[in-house]
Amino acid sequence: MSISQLAYYYALRTIARTEVADSINERVRKYGGTNHSGGLTLCSINKEAIDFARKEWPKYYGDKTHNGFEYSWETLYRKFTARPSFFDLAIWQQVNGERVLQGLALGKPSNGKTHLTLNWIERSFAPTYLRGGALLPILACAEEYAKLLGCHRVLIKDAVDPQKYERYGYTSFKLPKVTGSYLYKEISNDHGQQQ
C-alpha cells in the first residue's frame, strides 16, 4: 500500500463528500430543509467517531430499534482500511450546541472497480437522531465516490429494511452462487475508469 494510493483515494472520498455537502447546502439555501438536513458535517471515520459509537449509541439500543453489531466499528474500520480504495463516512450534526454522531458507513469497490458495495451502515437511535435520515447523505456520498472510481453501480449488501431504499433508486437482485441479499443501482458514469 503506497502513500500515493492512500492519498489518491482519500482525496477522492473528500471530493465526493464535498460535492454532496454542496448539493445539500444548495437545496437548503433555495428551498429550506434545515429541519431535516441542517448542521451536518460529512467526514471520514476517525477515533472520535468510533469512540462516540461505542459509548453513546448503545444507550439507545433496543429490541424495537437495533441491538448493535457483532463487531465494533473499530474492528470493522480496521478491516476496511486494508484496502486504500475503501469507502467510509461519518455523519455529525450540531444539535443544541452539541456534536452528535448520526451515522457511520463502510464499503469497498470490487477489484476491477465495476461496483462499490456498502457493507456496513448504522445510525443513531438517540432522541436527537437525524430527521432527514442517515441514508440520504450516505448513499449520495457512496454514489459520488463510485462515479469518481469509474464504477457502474452501487450495491448494498444485507440491508435490514430493503424497501426503504426504493425511494433512493435501489432494487433487489440476487447474485448467483453468493449468499446475502443485495440491492443495486446503476449510476451514470461516462468518464472511464481510473487506476
Binding site: R27, A105, W120, G132
Partner: protein
C-alpha cells in the same frame, strides 16, 4: 543565462518529487473530468416537492454484511 547553461544547471541540481501532491493532483484531475458536465448528486435528483416534505424518521438505516469480517464477493466484478 543561455539555454545551454540552464540545461547544465538542471542536470546537476536536485529535484524534490512530492508523492502526496501528485496523488492529490491526480484525484483533482479525475474530479474535473467526472464533473465536467456539472454535478448531479442523489440530493440534486430529489424532486423539489419531495425535498420540501422530506421525512426519513422511519428509515432504519442498518446494513450488516452477513459475511462478517470474511472477504466476500464485494471484491468480485459482476454484471448486475
Amino acid at each position: 543565462m543561455t539555454t545551454a547553461n540552464n540545461n547544465k544547471l538542471a542536470a546537476s541540481s536536485v529535484h524534490a518529487d512530492d508523492e502526496l501532491q501528485n496523488a492529490i493532483a491526480a484525484a483533482t484531475e479525475r474530479a474535473a473530468e467526472v464533473y465536467s458536465n456539472g454535478r448531479k448528486t442523489l440530493v440534486d435528483q430529489i424532486p423539489i416537492k419531495e425535498w420540501l416534505e422530506w421525512d426519513a424518521t422511519d428509515d432504519l438505516a442498518i446494513v450488516a454484511d452477513s459475511d462478517g469480517l470474511e472477504d466476500d464477493d464485494g471484491c468480485l466484478d459482476v454484471a448486475a
